[in-house]
């Protein structure tokens, strides 16, 4: 299965949530590949705490591969190369977790058919080894996004191939909802690109789901929340829900939400169960990641939104 992670703005928590999803999926027994297609600023290495890949690989990453500079992209087993001791453990019954990093100093490129062919080969190769491949795209419209859509379009993808999921991440604020809606529905948005690539519009829309990230609850005001604050928060939330619905990002498209996690405010990282046990992270955070992971791989859950 291929899972694409997109967002309109930077700082939505797309990469950090995707890394956490990859980690949770591997815990649930799936073999997972994480493909860092955020060519301008590959960050997965930092999130998985791999010192040598903090800003991508110096040689032969996915960007070089797509440009045809290397025949095979660099890949690492996250559990082997991570600096974080707890992450090194592979619990019984869990699956592999591999990272295909981007390149240090990668950048936008002018998309050609050769790049699309490379992407098709890459997706096919990882799908033959892994159950799930998460493709993290850079924020906004990019060549990587166009390339991905064309590489999985019905005309090139075998009919019996595994399903595709398209995730759209956005923060739960007015600006972010409007921007995410624009990225999906605008004239040159994702759906328009998908239609151009040969998808039938309805078929593609059934692949798309949104993830609302860092959604605050009333604890965000601190220990002593006033009644006024509670009321204000509820009202703002309702207004946002109305806005999301009006902009086409309503409940029917919602895959789930992740709570505001203080740990992630300081440092983008994998939230592990030990962090919850040590009372550093919220239980609600790992629970949200687990539920999202489950929904993504479960066809029935996905259809039944």
């Amino acid at each position: 299965m291929l899972v694409f992670s997109s967002s309109d703005k930077g700082g939505t928590g797309r990469s950090v949530t995707s890394c956490n999803l990859a980690y949770r999926l591997s815990l649930s027994g799936q073999d997972v590949a994480y493909l860092d297609f955020d060519f301008g600023s590959p960050t997965a290495g930092a999130i998985f705490e791999i010192p040598t890949l903090e800003r991508g690989t110096p040689d032969g990453g996915l960007h070089s591969y797509i440009l045809g500079k290397v025949a095979e992209p660099v890949r690492v087993d996250v559990r082997v190369v991570t600096e974080r001791t707890a992450l090194k453990e592979r619990p019984p019954g869990s699956g592999k977790l591999s990272l295909f990093p981007g390149d240090v100093g990668g950048a936008e490129f002018h998309l050609t058919n050769d790049h699309i062919k490379k992407a098709i080969d890459l997706f096919e190769t990882v799908e033959r080894e892994f159950d799930v491949a998460i493709v993290d795209l850079s924020a906004g419209r990019s060549s990587a996004l166009d390339m991905s859509l064309q590489a999985v379009a019905p005309k090139v993808r075998p009919k019996k191939a595994d399903p595709i999921r398209w995730l759209l991440f956005h923060r739960w604020t007015t600006q972010h909802v409007i921007a995410a809606s624009g990225l999906l529905f605008a004239d040159n948005g994702i759906i328009a690109c998908a239609t151009n690539a040969g998808f039938d519009q309805r078929g593609f829309r059934s692949m798309v789901r949104t993830i609302r990230t860092a959604v605050p609850d009333d604890t965000a005001f601190g220990k002593e929340t006033t009644a006024e604050q509670e009321a204000w928060l509820r009202k703002s939330d309702d207004i946002l829900k109305g806005l999301a619905k009006a902009r086409g990002l309503g409940q029917d498209l919602l895959a789930g939400l992740t709570p505001l996690e203080p740990m992630l405010l300081w440092r983008e990282q994998v939230i592990m169960d030990v962090d919850v046990k040590r009372r550093l992270a919220k239980r609600a955070t790992t629970k949200a990641f687990d539920e999202l992971a489950e929904r993504i791989i479960n066809d029935d859950a996905w259809e039944g939104f």
Partner: protein, 325 residues
């Protein structure tokens, strides 16, 4: 401008002293093994040249040799990396209609011309590269087997992968493999010496890559390459079966979905001596004495079959229980 040096007569000195190679092994991207006829068509990778094949004891089809132009550096353990120019030789091997290998090699001629000659010079010497700078054969062997990779350094594993990928696009391949597998890689290096008894060593690295080095007279080289292909295939078989067994024990997964294709596609293929050249049996035997690959295969296969037996018993019991309720 002066004309480039004319090629000198091949003397004793200009024969290849080192041959480097890599074998990549993976599953052909099909839902069912290719029948022999289809495999022969698929592996006829050069128009007009048919693939080599044998039917017994295990079906095997070997593509014609393909050649790839090279101008790159060789990894060395110390000092400057020598630049080499020439062609790599590569072929695809398909065993039991399902296990696909890309096998690539270059013969390295040292002390050849000091600068790059016209391409016709290299094109006439297929499968050979000539080093422009000085290099020590032992250093090349070590550098190739253990050196750092990089985009400017010769990486024959990638040539092998490329040859394998040619088979993804032939009409006989339906691109619906039912088994999740990883591609394995084996590296080998031969130091050609006419005056020595053949001697070889197989190292199993921590990275899961087998590395084989050998000192041998040049006449034994084809057999040595075959040995490496046989070893690479069996190494892959073992890891593919182990992977399927590992996956069958995962959370939330039906064990039979993993075990069924693994048993039906891989269970019958293990037979290292089937295509092993007679001259190389001693090396395989030495490897068996040390690593006991065949024992490991047998015990893994037994574990898989035991699991099937237990699952069957469980299923029968459940059915009986349902009937009695």
């Amino acid at each position: 401008m002066a004309r480039p040096d004319a090629p000198r007569h091949p003397t004793e000195q200009h024969r290849p002293q080192v041959v480097l190679g890599a074998v990549t092994t993976g599953l052909l991207n099909t839902s069912e093994p290719l029948p022999l006829e289809a495999a022969r068509q698929a592996l006829a990778l050069l128009p007009g040249v048919s693939a080599d094949w044998r039917r017994h004891p295990i079906e095997q089809v070997v593509s014609p040799d393909l050649f790839f132009g090279l101008d790159c550096k060789l990894a060395v353990r110390s000092g400057a990396q020598p630049r080499v120019i020439g062609t790599a030789r590569a072929r695809a091997v398909l065993t039991a209609g399902h296990v696909l290998q890309g096998s690539a090699s270059v013969a390295v001629v040292l002390d050849a011309s000091k600068r790059r000659l016209p391409w016709a010079h290299y094109a006439a010497r297929t499968g050979m590269v000539e080093a422009i700078n000085k290099a020590d054969p032992a250093d090349l062997v070590n550098g190739f087997l253990h050196g750092r990779s990089g985009s400017t350094v010769l990486d024959l594993g990638k040539t092998g992968s490329y040859v394998m990928s040619l088979l993804d696009r032939v009409p006989q391949v339906d691109r619906q493999a039912r088994l999740k597998t990883q591609t394995c890689r084996l590296l080998w290096a031969a130091h050609l010496r006419e005056d020595v008894e053949p001697d070889g060593r197989v190292e199993a690295g921590d990275d899961g890559v087998f590395r084989v080095r050998m000192s041998t007279p040049s006449e034994l080289l084809p057999q040595f390459v075959e040995f490496c292909e046989v070893l690479a295939m069996h190494d892959w078989l073992l890891s593919a079966l182990k992977n399927a067994f590992d996956r069958s024990a995962r959370r939330g997964r039906r064990a039979e979905d993993e075990i069924d294709p693994a048993l039906s596609y891989l269970g019958h293929i293990w037979n290292p001596t089937a295509h092993l050249p007679h001259e190389m049996r001693w090396l395989w035997q030495a490897l068996e004495d040390e690593a006991q690959l065949t024992w490991e295969w047998q015990s893994t296969l037994t574990r898989v079959r035991d699991k099937v037996t237990l699952l069957t018993r469980k299923a029968i019991e459940e059915t009986l229980h349902k009937e009695s309720v």
